[in-house]
């Protein structure tokens, strides 16, 4: 370190002032103003979110009783009642959607991650899945309407499930593929090296290793579909009564919120807020779980 010339006693050398005070007034003000503006931007995003959460807990919590989950909504003008039929309907349509999209999407992702890496087919499938993610949810509903509802001639839980399945499919494909790509290549090589076939490698090594990540992706896809009302409006439609018939129209939570919030009955509006609280809690829990998982994976 002795190579640095000693300038402390050299009058011709001026030590440059590198502290922030050296930055001229205008530039400092420019920086301060922009810092404040970016802080305001964050506030513009966070404050409405906090207000929304406070409002929903405030208005929905009073109806959080056991009856909410076990009873039907009351006739117009009366109070009490619950949204049990819509919870069952949501579970049914989601189950049908999952039954359609999970095996389909996971197997397609296995091709993308295990067999088709870098091929033109994989590129096109990924491109199409990415574009499909951006397709408005209501178009998944129009699709299911023209593929299922028109040929069958009636609204049904089944067609609602198909619409949700189409909605979930690209999310399932993408998240599963990413999970599989996280599995180190060496694990596959080791399996092949001791004589396993490709099928054995995938079933016994790659899939089990990626399983937690895949399941996280599937849960997030379900959470996303659970909140969608648009594709269900003209597929599952709505129902005011208990129903577990996949061939008949069925009530779901998001559609119930939509219909109950635009009619002028107080009990129905309260139930809509309670249903909104149920949905928000589902979303909160699933994104917390997903986030915790991603964090634990990083360590």
């Amino acid at each position: 370190m002795g190579s640095i010339p000693d300038t402390t006693n050299d009058p011709s050398f001026e030590v440059p002032d590198l502290t922030s005070k050296a930055i001229s007034g205008n530039r400092a003000i420019f920086g301060k103003v922009l810092t404040v503006i970016s802080g305001i931007c964050v506030a513009l995003l966070i404050v409405p979110l906090l207000l929304l959460l406070i409002n929903i807990f405030d208005k929905g919590l009073s109806r959080m009783t056991p009856e909410l989950f076990t009873e039907l909504p009351p006739p117009p003008g009366l109070t009490e009642g619950g949204i049990g039929h819509a919870i069952i309907g949501s579970i049914m349509t989601l189950a049908i959607g999952a039954a359609v999209s999970f095996p389909f999407g996971v197997l397609a992702a296995i091709y993308l991650a295990e067999f088709g890496r870098g091929t033109r087919i994989a590129y096109l499938v990924k491109f199409s899945a990415n574009v499909l993610t951006g397709v408005p949810a209501i178009l998944c509903g129009l699709f299911a309407y023209s593929v299922v509802v028109i040929p069958l001639g009636y609204f049904s839980a089944f067609s609602g499930g198909i619409a949700l399945g189409v909605l979930m499919l690209p999310i399932v494909i993408r998240s599963t593929e990413e999970s599989l790509l996280l599995v180190p290549l060496e694990m596959r090589q080791a399996a092949i090296g001791i004589g396993a076939t490709r099928f054995q490698t995938i079933m016994k090594i790659t899939l089990p290793a990626a399983l937690p990540a895949i399941v996280t992706g599937l849960v997030l896809a379900l959470a996303r579909a659970a909140g969608e009302a648009a594709p269900l409006l003209f597929t599952a439609f709505n129902n005011s009564f208990w129903s577990t018939d996949p061939r008949g129209p069925i009530a779901t939570l998001p559609v119930l919120i939509y219909f109950f919030s635009i009619i002028p009955y107080k009990a129905q509006q309260e139930l809509a807020w309670a249903a909104a609280l149920v949905l928000i809690v589902i979303v909160l829990i699933s994104s917390l779980l997903g986030r915790m998982f991603i964090r634990s994976k990083r360590i």
Binding site: L45, L52, G134, L279, S287
Partner: protein, 325 residues
């Protein structure tokens, strides 16, 4: 699957029938490959199938109304005359309002989260809160809009109308609770996190030499952000804006619940309007045959708009990623 083969080998005591085993394994391998390949192709084809089905279902209306559908502003189930001009107008206006609000706020938020203006224990919850907004079901934002936002914002709308009413887009009669501006604001709340998180990840993948070089040349932190980081990340920012735009155009429940569904073109954004998605959601339940076809035609219009935006965004992302590598 293979444990059976192994057990056969162990119990039979015969020599290792490696050829037999290899052939069943090979068939299994090939079959599995074929299955996953066909499903991958199927997954890719779903997009084409959706376009195809919607187009077929809307075909009668396309024949009947032709391109005039796009320039007609009546929705008349009694006389079976349909057109979506007001809806296209409403979709474009609400999307534009959403983008005008969301682009600066989203980029500002992204900068706040990338640079260390705040300690990590403040930034992490903010980042989580932003992800949370993306996950909130739009129908929940809709009910919040009806019962909380409209009463809260009504004085603000009145103020805009009375003080800036000479501007055509704030003018018109007394402002209504359900209006295009309100929808634009709620859409902005939905798409700002999209812009913020994608812009943030764009900043994070930029080579750190860019920032270091700029700082070393004596630029302040903000000069580095404005003159180096944002220009360098521009393609990423643009693609995030395109994706957000696609979201705003296709969002249904917020529009259906808050836009007012008035089938006319208002110069004023403080008046009710209509969007393509809101039209489909509100009319489908009681639609007859021709009307269903017309709604499907409207769906095709929406599909084309959102496909253009999405494919454009996707292509920018691909090109950008290639440069990065």
């Amino acid at each position: 699957m293979t444990s059976g083969t192994d057990r056969d080998f162990a119990s039979s005591g015969k020599s290792l029938d490696i050829y037999k085993r290899a052939s069943t394994a090979r068939i299994l391998d090939l079959g599995f490959w074929g299955l996953t390949l066909s499903l991958a192709l199927g997954g890719g084809a779903v997009l084409i199938w959706i376009i195809f089905q919607t187009a077929i279902a809307g075909w009668p209306a396309m024949q009947l109304f032709g391109l005039g559908f796009l320039f007609t502003s009546s929705w008349d189930p009694v006389n079976n005359i349909y057109g979506v001009l007001p809806q296209i107008y409403g979709t474009l206006v609400t999307t534009a309002i959403a983008l005008i609000v969301a682009i600066p706020v989203g980029i500002g938020t992204a900068v706040f989260l990338t640079e260390d203006f705040a300690p990590k224990f403040i930034r992490t919850p903010i980042a989580f809160a932003i992800e949370l907004i993306v996950a909130i079901p739009s129908v929940v934002l809709g009910i919040w809009g009806i019962f909380v936002l409209i009463p809260t914002l009504r004085p603000f709308f009145r103020f805009l109308n009375s003080s800036l009413g000479w501007l055509p887009f704030f003018g018109g009669g007394a402002p209504r609770g359900n209006n295009l501006f309100l929808v634009g604001l709620v859409l902005a709340l939905m798409i700002t996190p999209v812009i913020a998180s994608l812009t943030r990840s764009t900043f994070e993948v930029l080579p750190s030499e860019l920032r270091q070089g700029s700082l070393a040349l004596g630029a302040t932190r903000w000069e580095t952000i404005v003159r180096v980081m944002i220009p360098a990340g521009l393609s990423g920012i643009i693609s995030s804006i395109m994706l957000a735009m696609g979201r705003a155009m296709g969002e249904t429940m917020v529009a259906a619940m808050l836009v007012g569904n008035a089938n006319r073109i208002n110069a004023s954004i403080l008046q009710p309007g209509s969007t393509i998605t809101g039209l489909i959601a509100s009319q489908f339940g009681e639609a007859g045959r021709t009307q269903v076809a017309a709604l499907m035609y409207a769906g095709v219009v929406l599909m084309i708009l959102s496909l253009l935006v999405n494919i454009f965004a996707e292509l920018i992302i691909r090109r950008y990623q290639n440069i990065e590598r």
